[in-house]
């Protein structure tokens, strides 16, 4: 599987520009630096969707007050371009502090989805998970996750906070020769942590075990994508629930 890792020539960090995900983005950049690859960061906006929502629905739910307000305020706010610039500056600063160079761009959701889908097999897609469960049920994240899962590139679901210390790489394999095992061993050589083989093969089997003893949580979980794709939202949820990055690879490397 050296070939697999050799293809991780670039890490593409994808995050939603609409709201701040500073912690998750910092975690994503940190893990990209650990893989030693060049980095591209995409901040996804959805202004076209907001325009559609304004035209067809016209309201926005203020989650702080629980009140519905006129969406026109969002459309007409003069700060939107400025906000994008600020997000780029913040992410650049974050990359510098983490110690990695990142090519950062802000893309409208349509373009971003296209780029994600076209991510080459040798690259790594790193998807920053919104902590708000409603955000994870919202556009553009749902579309973004869907696009990532339809790409050939491996996808790393990143929680806001990475586990500390050397906890090992846990591989969930359905069978001997599962490509997840090979990838885990390659990752192990790169980041210097041992591989552990789980008795479970599916993510949902891990929850109960680790809830009883979180000290056993690994640094990264590696598993085949087709095994877990029954419910893509579940992978996001488990990433956050366990607080462990989950690397999904294609079954056929």
């Amino acid at each position: 599987m050296t070939e697999v890792l050799a293809r991780f020539t670039k890490c593409t960090v994808v995050s939603i520009a609409t709201i701040d995900h500073a912690a998750g983005e910092a975690a994503a950049l940190t893990i990209a630096r650990r893989f030693g690859s060049s980095c591209r960061a995409i901040l996804v906006t959805n202004e076209d969707m907001v325009v559609s929502a304004h035209a067809t629905f016209g309201h926005v739910l203020d989650v702080v007050t629980g009140q519905w307000r006129d969406l026109r305020q969002v459309i007409e706010t003069p700060k939107r371009p400025k906000r994008s610039v600020q997000r780029i500056e913040l992410l650049s600063e974050m990359a510098r502090s983490v110690g990695i160079e990142a090519d950062i761009s802000v893309l409208e959701s349509g373009q971003a989805l296209a780029d994600v889908k076209a991510t080459p097999r040798q690259d790594l897609l790193i998807l920053v998970q919104p902590t708000d469960p409603l955000a994870r049920q919202s556009h553009p994240f749902t579309e973004l996750r869907h696009a990532a899962l339809s790409a050939h590139a491996p996808i790393l679901f990143v929680p806001p906070h990475l586990p500390t210390g050397s906890r090992g790489i846990l591989v969930l394999a359905q069978r001997e020769g599962d490509p997840a095992i090979e990838v885990a061993e390659q990752v192990s050589r790169v980041i210097g942590e041992p591989v552990k083989r789980s008795g479970a093969s599916r993510l949902e089997e891990l929850g109960g075990i680790w809830e009883a003893d979180r000290t056993r949580l690994p640094s990264i979980i590696v598993t085949a994508r087709d095994v877990q794709l029954d419910d893509p939202a579940f992978v996001s949820r488990m990433t956050l629930r366990l607080g462990v990055p989950i690397l999904l690879i294609e079954s056929e490397a």
């Binding site: 939603i16 609409t18 709201i19 959805n46 076209d48 969707m49 907001v50 325009v51 559609s52 929502a53 304004h54 035209a55 067809t56 629905f57 309201h59 926005v60 739910l61 203020d62 989650v63 629980g66 519905w68 307000r69 969406l71 305020q73 969002v74 706010t77 939107r80 906000r83 469960p133 409603l134 955000a135 994870r136 049920q137 919202s138 556009h139 553009p140 994240f141 749902t142 579309e143 809830e211 009883a212 003893d213 979180r214 000290t215 939202a233 949820r237 629930r241």
Partner: protein, 840 residues
């Protein structure tokens, strides 16, 4: 009426009558080492009152000790109280603790004596134990797992709800759109958001249907969000319950063990029960404490003695009675401010803000003396604002409420602590002057309610062999206490004699010991300088002389004025209508005597004797009374069968200040008779004494200073052997003349003549029989009557023009006024003139 037959028989007093000696050489005085020093020597009346105060428990029987300054009443009273209370039961301890129900009202807990330290020790041990045990309990994997399970449950509930919402949206072809300001909704087509153009292209019915779907999802979203706070509350509640269970498990055993160790202190156990509940409710304080300890890298107790966030569980030892003493406390408050009496709540500065806590409640003297005795200097008490009121309030309520000056005056509006008042049962002893007692009793109705007992200290005691010995023992004890050289017997003799001299009575000893004590201190210094191992009479005598020299500047100036003939005083020869009366001056506590020439002029008139001092408003009422008595004497002696046809005037020559007292009345009478009869008086004799209407001579004050004052003048001019002083016979018992006078008298160079009536004085002054003088006076008065009768003129004929306004109010000695007065105006006597000079 005194008899004239005694004329010429008065001899001067023998030297041994002029000073009563003390002799310890043959009878050793009691030493402090062999006789228990009693601070209340000679104070039987006061002792009885103090013993009554210590023996009674009834409310209001507090004690006022009335004693002159220097009587050492505070120390003596305190010594007696401590002796009386040493065997009494020790009062309870008091601590303040946090009030878990009303935090700004700290609770006071009464504990058996000596238990406060035990209580605090047990509580602190408990806290230190919990500081380790509580975080450990919350760090256990079991607790963490349970807590995370609860949090996950909430998170899952939320996730499930939003996932369901997302599905419901997708089922209705509705997308939830995230915007920078919240969430909105948009219609979907084939999984993609419909743009406005496509939406508008839809048929109206379809648009309406889609709008309905958007509305349905909007309602679902609102409904989902409505549930979130409730779930959150439920989770928090569950978490709190979990924390309480964990806390309860962590602290229960420690608390129970502490309660068991304090089972003999029910009030302490009750507090621990309240503390137990609060610990469970506020267990988070231990994690706050741990965090702060990590930051400061300090031990459990901060440099300011506080337990930081856990301070609420600490114990403030307010009043504790340890092993260092037994019995009831005797506390003397030397600075009785309001705060020092009732206690105070202190503050500490933290990050620029003043904060306080129940640990900063400090006791006052009333708390410290609770169950015992509190001695307060009344002079100090009344100088402190609101202190007297606070003391009365505390006695009235039998409890002490801690209030600051600002609170009492309503100057402070900030929130502060209101410590629970502590009940008090104590006896207050106020030490002040007798006049303070009289004023308080007259003008403060509360005073007699709260201070029913009076210990009225004597200023002197009867002088006897035993009292001299006791006094000497007291002086020896003082010398030991003050670290002085020990006084030998000769020194003690002189000191005891000086104690008698200071009373103005040879038969009494002064109990105002501060002057004698100071004298002994000075004598000790002189003995040290002279390399002596003990104080001798030489040291005492030198100290007395030195003290007199230091204080006698004005006296010396007056004497100088006489010796330079500026103030006219003759000490030899004879003159009619003129005598040396003796005045007493007191300046800054120093008394001295000085002769003053008194003269009389007489002429026919209507029977009036003019007191020029009174007419010039320089005479006090008692002096005026003395002169009026002369009128009574004259009328009774010479005018029982005829009208008094006399107009006479009496004056203190070269006296420019006020005159008070009647001790010159004997001299004035002699001068008056001499003036009328034209019989001269010996100027070599000074005279002092009061006289009544029958001519009997009465005792006066300051006899020693007066005799010595005249002696000093005579001695300076040279003693002739004819000089001396006439004094009332009743004053002989008061004589404690200085050694110089006594020695001169022993050698016959000076004499002190005691007289019982005016005739004896006349005989001494004139050298002729009083009957001769009386005959001449009678003849002169008869002649005056004839003059009046023949002229038929009224008394006004002889009245001179009043010139009193020209007299300067006060001139220095020896500086006569430019316009000497003749006869003063008939102004009413003034009682307001300041009596700088006393002939009393």
């Amino acid at each position: 009426m005194a008899s004239s037959d005694t004329a010429g028989t008065i001899d001067p007093l023998p030297a041994d009558r002029l000073r009563r000696r003390t002799h310890f050489t043959k009878r050793k005085p009691a030493q402090s080492s062999t006789v228990e020093f009693e601070g209340l020597f000679g104070q039987e009346r006061a002792r009885e009152a103090i013993q009554l105060a210590t023996g009674m428990s009834a409310k209001g029987f507090n004690l006022f000790v009335a004693a002159p300054p220097g009587a050492d009443a505070s120390a003596a009273t305190k010594a007696l109280l401590e002796k009386a209370t040493a065997k009494r039961e020790m009062p309870d301890d008091w601590v303040y603790v946090f009030n878990f129900d009303v935090p700004h009202k700290p609770r006071a807990i009464r504990l058996p004596p000596g238990s406060a330290m035990q209580f605090r020790g047990a509580v602190r041990d408990l806290i230190f134990d919990l500081i380790a045990a509580v975080p450990a309990a919350f760090e256990k994997p079991e607790f963490q797992a349970q807590r995370e399970a609860l949090e996950d449950e909430f998170q899952n509930r939320k996730e499930d709800a939003f996932e369901k919402l997302g599905k419901e949206g997708r089922n209705r072809d509705v997308a939830i759109i995230q915007t920078p300001m919240g969430f909105s909704l948009a219609p979907l087509k084939n999984g993609e958001v419909l743009d406005p153009k496509s939406f508008n292209a839809l048929a109206k019915a379809e648009q309406k249907r889609r709008q309905g779907q958007l509305k349905e999802v909007q309602d679902l979203l609102a409904d989902t969000l409505r549930h979130l706070p409730k779930w959150e509350r439920e989770t928090r509640k569950s978490l709190r319950a979990l924390e309480r269970e964990t806390a309860e498990a962590a602290i229960k055993q420690s608390i129970e063990e502490t309660k068991a160790s304090l089972r003999e202190l029910p009030t302490a156990v009750k507090h621990l029960d309240a503390m137990h509940q609060d610990l469970v409710d506020n267990i988070v304080l231990f994690s706050t404490f741990a965090a702060q300890s990590r930051e400061s890298d300090a031990g459990p107790i901060s440099p300011n003695g506080s337990l930081g966030p856990l301070e609420r569980y600490d114990v403030n030892i307010f009043v504790a009675h340890g092993e260092e003493r037994s019995g009831a406390p005797v506390v003397e408050e030397v600075h009785p401010t309001l705060a020092n009496l009732v206690g105070r709540v202190e503050h500490r500065a933290e990050a620029g803000v003043l904060t306080t806590s129940f640990m900063l409640i400090k006791p006052g003297a009333l708390h410290m003396a609770n169950g015992g005795y509190l001695v307060i200097d009344a002079r100090s008490l009344f100088r402190e604002p609101l202190a007297w009121d606070a003391l009365k309030r505390s006695l009235r309520q039998s409890g002490v409420k801690i209030e600051s000056l600002g609170e009492v005056l309503n100057l402070s509006t900030t929130i502060t602590l209101e410590p629970e008042p502590i009940p008090i049962d104590l006896r207050v002893i106020l030490v002040g002057d007798a006049w303070m007692h009289h004023v308080l009793a007259a003008y403060d109705p509360d005073f007699s309610v709260h201070f029913k007992l009076l210990a009225d200290f004597e200023t002197d005691a009867l002088r006897s062999e035993s009292s001299e010995a006791a006094y000497a023992a007291k002086l020896s004890a003082h010398a030991e206490q003050d670290g002085l050289l020990p006084p030998d017997n000769t020194a003690l003799e002189r000191l005891v004699e000086e104690a008698a001299r200071s009373t103005g009575d040879a038969d009494r000893l002064s109990l105002v010991s501060s002057d004698i004590r100071d004298l002994m201190i000075e004598a000790s210094h002189r003995a040290s300088v002279a390399n002596r191992v003990s104080i001798t009479q030489v040291d005492v005598a030198e100290s007395i002389q030195s003290r007199r020299r230091r204080l006698s500047r004005i006296s010396d100036r007056m004497q100088e004025g006489i010796l330079r003939d500026i103030a006219l005083i003759d000490t030899d020869g004879m003159a009619a209508g003129q005598a040396n009366c003796l005045s007493l001056f007191q300046i800054g506590g120093f008394m001295f005597g000085k002769p003053t020439r008194v003269t009389a002029r007489a002429r026919p008139g209507s029977g009036r004797i003019i007191d020029i001092e009174r007419e010039a408003s320089l005479g006090g009422p008692i002096h005026s009374k003395g002169v009026m008595i002369l009128t009574g004497y004259m009328a009774g002696r010479y005018a029982t069968d005829k009208a008094m046809s006399l107009h006479a005037s009496l004056v203190f020559e070269q006296s420019y200040g006020g005159v008070e007292g009647d001790s010159a009345s004997l001299g004035e009478l002699c001068v008056l008779l001499s003036g009328i009869a034209g019989v001269p008086l010996k100027q070599s004799l000074g005279i002092t004494g009061s006289v009544n209407q029958h001519g009997e001579v009465q005792a006066i004050g300051g006899v020693n200073e007066k005799v010595e004052g005249f002696f000093d003048i005579c001695n300076a001019r040279g003693l002739t052997g004819d000089q001396g002083v006439i004094i009332p016979a009743s004053n002989v018992q008061h004589l404690m003349l200085n050694e110089e006078v006594v020695e001169a008298c022993r050698k016959g160079r000076f004499g002190v003549y005691p007289v019982r009536n005016v005739d004896e004085a006349i005989a001494l002054l004139t050298g002729v029989s009083p009957n001769i003088l009386h005959g001449k006076v009678d003849a002169a008065l008869t002649a005056f009557a004839q003059v009046i009768s023949q002229s038929g003129k009224s008394d006004e004929k002889y009245t001179a023009r009043p010139v009193a306004d020209e007299i300067p109010p006060s001139e220095p000695p020896g500086a006569p006024p430019e316009n000497p007065p003749s006869e003063p105006p008939r102004a009413p006597p003034s009682r307001s003139s300041v009596a700088k000079k006393s002939d009393d």
